[in-house]
Each structure stands twice: as C-alpha cells, then as structure tokens.
C-alpha cells in the first residue's frame, strides 16, 4: 500500500494536495513555499486533478479567494510563508470566524525585517491568535501526513476551523529525504468528500455569510468559535488513530522522546527536534537522563498533557524559534509556563530563543542547552530564565562554546 520514495517537503505536500483533489487552489508564490502551488499547477495543467487553479495577485487575494471558494462548498487549499502569511493577516481571522475548513501549508520562514529567506517560526507564531488549528512537522514525512490529516480535522463538524500545516523552510521544504507515500485511493478514501452543511450559490437553501455583529452578538459568535478549537483536540487525536490504522505511523499532540525516566528535557518544534533527538541519543549513551518533547499541535495548545508529561522532571528548556519581544521568553515558553502554573512549580524552567533567520542549529548547540540545564539543577536555580542560543554576544563570549 505504501510507496517508498524520496521527496522534498514541498513535493510531498504537493502530492498530498493532488491526492485530495481540492475544488479550488488559489495561491501566490513566495520563497520557500512557491513550489507547492507550482507543482500543483502542473498537476492541474495535466488534468490530474479537477481543481480550479487560481493564480491571484497577492496572498491577501489568495486567502480571500479560498474563503469564497470554501463558502461556495468546495475544498479550498493554499500555501504561503513569511510575509505572504503576514499580508493575508486580516483574512486569516475571517477564514476562522467564518468557520471555513481551509487547509494551508505554511512553510516557515522568518518575517522581514531585515529580509530573510531562511527558516524560523516568526510567521506562524505571529498568527497564533487567528483561530487556526496549527500543526507542526519535523520532516517531509510529517509534512505529508499532516497535510492529509489537516483536511479531516478542518472539515469535522465539531471543528469547522481552518488548519495550518507548518514545516521548516528549506530545511524540510527543499531537502530531499526518504518518505513513504500513500496510494492515491488510500488518501482519497481517508479524507472522503467535503460535504458542508450549508454553502453559498445554493438557490434551494439561500444563506447570508460574513455579517456585521452589533455588541449583542459578537461575543457569542467568538465563544462558539472557541468551542471549535476546544473540540479540535479530540478530533485531532481521533484522526491520528484512524491514520495509524491506515499507515502504522503514530501521531499525537506532541512526541515524547526518551521521556520515561528523563530528568532534563528540551521542548521544541520542527526540524530542530530531529537534531535534538540526536543530542539526546548521545547523552543517553553517556548515561545522562535526557529527553525531548516535540510539539506537533500548537493550536489548540495541549496544556493538560504537557503538564502531565513534565511531571517528575527537574529542569526543562523551552526553545522558541521566534522572538515575540515579550522580553520574558518566547511564545512556546509562555504556553508551557502557564500550563505549569497549575502543575509542578518546583520544575526549573527556562526559555531559549534560537535559530532566528536560519541560524543553524547543531547537535552541539542542543548539547550546550542540556549542559546549562544540568548546571541549573546543580545550583538549584533557573535564573536568569530568559536565554538566547547561538547569537553572537560580546558579553557571553567567555562562556560561549564558540558557536
């Protein structure tokens, strides 16, 4: 059933989209996501899909067109990165509040300025309040699998929210690696057909959409939207169970790697988690009780489950590949630390901001983080808890390991 192949992340996502045969793909190119609509447009031109491919004049238009298409009752998909995502910012909120199951591949790239074409998570983290479900993948396999599961989650009647399928620009999007693809009909059967309860362009059941709300209405609509996000957790897990039946690959809200008896752990997102796993393996060989949590679902945030997973650990570093300028840690750190407020308060927790603008993350860098964690344990304190990894800092040069 599975096809052993080698594909870049973008190629794999393009293939997944082809296999799901969306009604409309409206997209605008931006590095490093361009290849997704580019390959897809090839499939459309060759008649391999029934999709109406709409090349639009901007990312704002891409999302607007997807919203229109989704409202008209078809599966609508797109892809973008970085400033493209930023340009469609207002439409992200509208796609979500309109409860439209649009699936968008977000190929993570730093936001300008300065201009950077390289990977970090500023783009999707910047959109974390828009009401989109956010899935993050470590490699091409996960990008492909998440793209398929995203459609099921988005279209589920208890959710009806758009989904971002996030994966790292260049590192995952352009790197060719081994992958197991599914057969076309397996994907088609897994996602099924899109059957919206209501849609526009239906004279038999007319509707109006996207209204103005006076203060007597807005709050209730938002609470209803929040309910979709609350239900998404259960739907994501159910979809992952079905996916396991189909493929033998297990997915959850996050991956706990060597966490059973871990004393120290790092929590991170995306391709650097793979590099970090290599660091954990090395430490384990030396008898160090190191572990790692790789977040897959950032929205909705699995606070309860993270709280449980960190029970019994002595020190944890939460690593953020984006700077939220809160000055007391990055976005993932805030989610984890607030989850722990109702959990283990003796845990030594710190924040690392790392990898901005494509700053390379090596096994040695992660080893350095674990070294700091063990120093924290030795001195019984996580202060100062807001740290940077890999930035050239005159004041830290004596302490730095020449990174």
């Amino acid at each position: 059933m599975a096809v052993r192949d080698k594909r870049s992340g973008n190629e794999a996502v393009g293939i997944a989209m082809r296999q799901m045969n969306p009604g409309v793909v409206a997209a605008f190119p931006i590095t490093p996501s361009t290849e997704v609509p580019q390959y897809f447009s090839g499939y459309a031109a060759n008649g391999e899909v029934d999709t109406e491919f709409v090349p639009v004049e901007s990312e704002h238009s891409a999302m607007s067109a997807c919203i229109g298409a989704s409202y008209a009752g078809v599966r609508a998909m797109t892809a973008t990165s970085s400033n493209g995502l930023a340009l469609m910012w207002e439409m992200l909120y509208i796609a979500s509040s309109d409860r439209l199951p649009i699936v968008m591949a977000v190929v993570n790239r730093a936001l300008s300025g300065p201009i950077s074409i390289h990977n970090d998570h500023a783009d999707s983290m910047g959109a974390r309040d828009a009401g989109w479900v956010q899935l993050y993948g470590e490699n091409n396999q996960e990008a492909y699998d998440n793209e398929i599961m995203a459609v099921c989650v988005a279209e589920h009647p208890d959710v009806e929210l758009p989904v971002m399928n996030c994966y790292d620009g260049f590192i995952t999007s352009h790197s060719v690696e081994n992958i197991e693809l599914l057969e076309d009909d397996a994907v088609r059967d897994f996602v099924g057909e899109y059957r919206p309860g209501h849609h526009l362009l239906n004279p038999g059941a007319p509707m109006s959409a996207g209204p103005l709300d006076m203060p007597g209405y807005y709050f209730e609509h938002k609470r209803s939207q929040a309910e979709g996000m609350i239900c998404a957790k259960k739907v994501i897990l159910e979809t992952a169970d079905r996916f396991y039946e189909l493929t033998g690959r297990r997915y959850g809200l996050f991956e706990a790697y060597q966490m059973d008896d871990a004393e120290m752990a790092v929590i991170l997102i995306g391709s650097s988690a793979g590099t970090a796993k290599e660091a954990v393996k090395r430490l384990r060989r030396e008898g160090v009780k190191a572990g790692l949590i790789k977040i897959r679902v950032f929205r909705p945030f699995p606070a309860e489950e993270i709280k449980e997973a960190l029970k019994g650990l002595r020190a944890v570093a939460v690593m953020d590949k984006s700077e939220g300028f809160s000055t007391h840690g990055g976005p993932l750190f805030h989610e984890v630390s607030s989850a722990l407020y109702y959990g283990d308060k003796d845990l030594l927790l710190c924040s690392y901001i790392y990898g901005l603008g494509g700053r390379d993350v090596r096994v040695e860098d992660i080893l350095q983080v674990f070294k700091s964690l063990s120093d924290d344990i030795a001195r019984g304190s996580a202060e100062p808890y807001c740290r940077y990894l890999g930035v050239t800092d005159k004041e830290k040069e004596e302490a730095a390991d020449g990174i």
Partner: protein, 108 residues
C-alpha cells in the same frame, strides 16, 4: 424567513449560528429603516413615465411597483437619501423636509 426565525441579541452561544451565518433569505424585510428618514420623497403619479430609474437606483429597494408601474414609496424602509428624486427626469419625485411636512402634510 419568518420574523420569529430572526436570531435575537444575547442568544446563548450554543444556540447561535456558526460564523453568524443567516440561513434563509429576505431577513432585511424585518429591519424597518423608515424611522431613519429626515426628508421624505413625494411621488406624483401623473408625472411618472415608468422609466424605472428610481426603482433601479434606490439603494433600499423602496420604490413600490405594481404590474410594471411605479405606484409609490415603501415608507417603512425609505431612508430619505434623495437618489430617486435626483435621478427622476420627469420631475415626479421631490423631497419634502420635515418642516414642509408639518406645514403642508404629506403622502406619508
């Protein structure tokens, strides 16, 4: 849509529609904006040539038609914008201010 199907303010979130969608049509019938009006259009049937400019250009669909003839104004909805009077080339519609109305009475 029936008037009782309209969703009221402070409807519990569990009972409201997702996205604020309105399932049905013609709900604007129940939003009577005639009370917004300051100046009122007066229609003189004798001058009307049924060119339909007022009907086409009225933003509130408030020109009354019967059997293809303009018969008057839907005063429950007319907001008094004056477009009908402006575009009428037959001089069949003129706007009457509130003062004039009180002094001379009006169709309404």
């Amino acid at each position: 849509m029936k008037e009782q199907d309209l969703i009221q303010p402070f409807t519990p979130w569990q009972d409201t529609t997702r996205g604020g969608n309105i399932y049905g049509s013609g709900s604007s019938k129940y939003y009577r904006t005639g009370g917004w009006r300051v100046d009122t259009p007066q229609f003189e049937a004798a001058r009307c040539v049924n060119c339909m400019r007022c009907f086409l250009l009225c933003p509130d669909g408030s020109i009354a038609l019967e059997d293809g003839q303009v018969t008057g104004i839907h005063y429950d909805y007319c907001k008094g914008c004056g477009i009908c009077s402006e575009v009428c080339n037959a001089g069949a519609i003129h706007m009457m201010s509130r003062q004039e109305e009180s002094a001379h009475g009006s169709e309404r």
